[in-house]
Symmetry: C2
Subunit: 230 residues, 2 copies
């Protein structure tokens, strides 16, 4: 009670906080392996700990539930992506078109390079719980934002206001995701460069349209839509 010498002391030469952080990282890596191969639903905590080379107790040291690990892993993957993309898109020394293409390529390359990432980011994250849904939602908002940056860089003529008010970047983000879905489910048969080029075409089509003097979409522009339901 009174004589407590060096609580949280160093161990194996490393500080206590650092050791905990190390374990956390091991668990996240194990989560990537487990969720990315056998899937989130079919993975239990024991398995994660075995893969991490740790005991169950250490799981609860860093995470409250399995969901928490999934969220942490997902957030890390997405954050990595964002960092890469921003470092390319915001580097003024790279020619705009090259920067745009390179960031697009990075997006797909990362999935092919490690399909576990693809599985987690594209499939395992959905339909787990409201908490995880919110995580997904914010990541997708971020991706739409990246698309806005992307379009702004590739097509400087696009009106900022148009870009911000339009749902089109959301749609394009969806295209990127969905093309990834298909690519993954097809087992990455199509070559990476083909994927990138085709998506680039899609972006180009939309970008040109936006740059071509289309004002921000007014509300309920087409009343033909109101025609009676089938």
């Amino acid at each position: 009670m009174q004589n407590r010498p060096a609580r949280n002391r160093t161990y194996g030469g490393v500080d206590a906080n650092l050791r905990e952080e190390d374990r956390r990282k091991k668990l996240i890596e194990a989560g990537l392996e487990a969720f990315g191969t056998r899937g989130y639903a079919k993975t239990n905590i024991r398995t994660i700990c075995r893969l991490a080379g740790l005991t169950e107790r250490y799981f609860y040291e860093s995470f409250g539930h399995k969901e928490d690990l999934l969220c942490a892993l997902y957030r890390e993957l997405v954050e990595e992506e964002r960092t890469y993309a921003l470092s390319i898109l915001e580097d003024p020394s790279i020619e705009s078109r090259v920067a745009a293409l390179r960031s697009l390529r990075m997006f797909y390359h990362r999935f092919q390079e490690d399909p576990r990432r693809a599985r987690v980011q594209l499939f395992e994250i959905l339909g787990v719980s409201p908490q995880v849904d919110r995580e997904y939602q914010s990541a997708m908002r971020m991706l739409s934002e990246m698309v806005r940056l992307f379009l702004g860089r590739m097509f400087p003529d696009i009106d900022r206001e148009t870009l911000n008010s339009s749902i089109i970047p959301v749609g394009l983000a969806g295209s990127m995701i969905h093309v990834s879905h298909k690519w993954v489910l097809d087992g990455f048969t199509m070559p990476l460069d083909d994927i990138v080029n085709q998506v680039k075409d899609l972006f180009t089509a939309v970008g040109k349209h936006l740059a071509g003097g289309v004002q921000a979409p007014e509300r309920s522009s087409g009343s033909a839509v109101h025609a009676k339901e089938g």
Copy 2:
């Protein structure tokens, strides 16, 4: 052993096969309710049976696993959608632009009308198992095909070959799905007509681009993409 009078007899005035079919339908409806509200992962078979007003035994009469029910439900939802869309898109008596818009509106309207459908079709179907993944994959192929039909109807000038070889319909299908995702997660705050109009704009942009004499994309057209990774 010898005296077996009327096996599979009628009951309550209905044939045995019909009764089984009725129970199956009840189970699918219960699946929609359960998966569409509390979610697939958090639903057990007992709950489904309670909702269906049936006993566990009858679940195994029609389905082998929970997954089978999910697949059956999903297939039914998608099939319904396809039927509606085709009935609109292939009706030559409807003006092309109206038909296209109406089918697009139907797509989103169905989600708003019954959010359980949205949850099942958009969220619960992913990351369950390879079997379910295949179900999703085929549904998405179908949706891309519908988009092709849609574009063909809205922009008769688009070259058939271009349309068939391009990944763009896949991308647009992804946009539709993704916009739905966002719409659902935002609690359907944006009015249906706004959603439809914005997606229409996206389709228009791409359609005009495709119709504007762009030939089928040649392989590896842009070598700038090969620039070194970050």
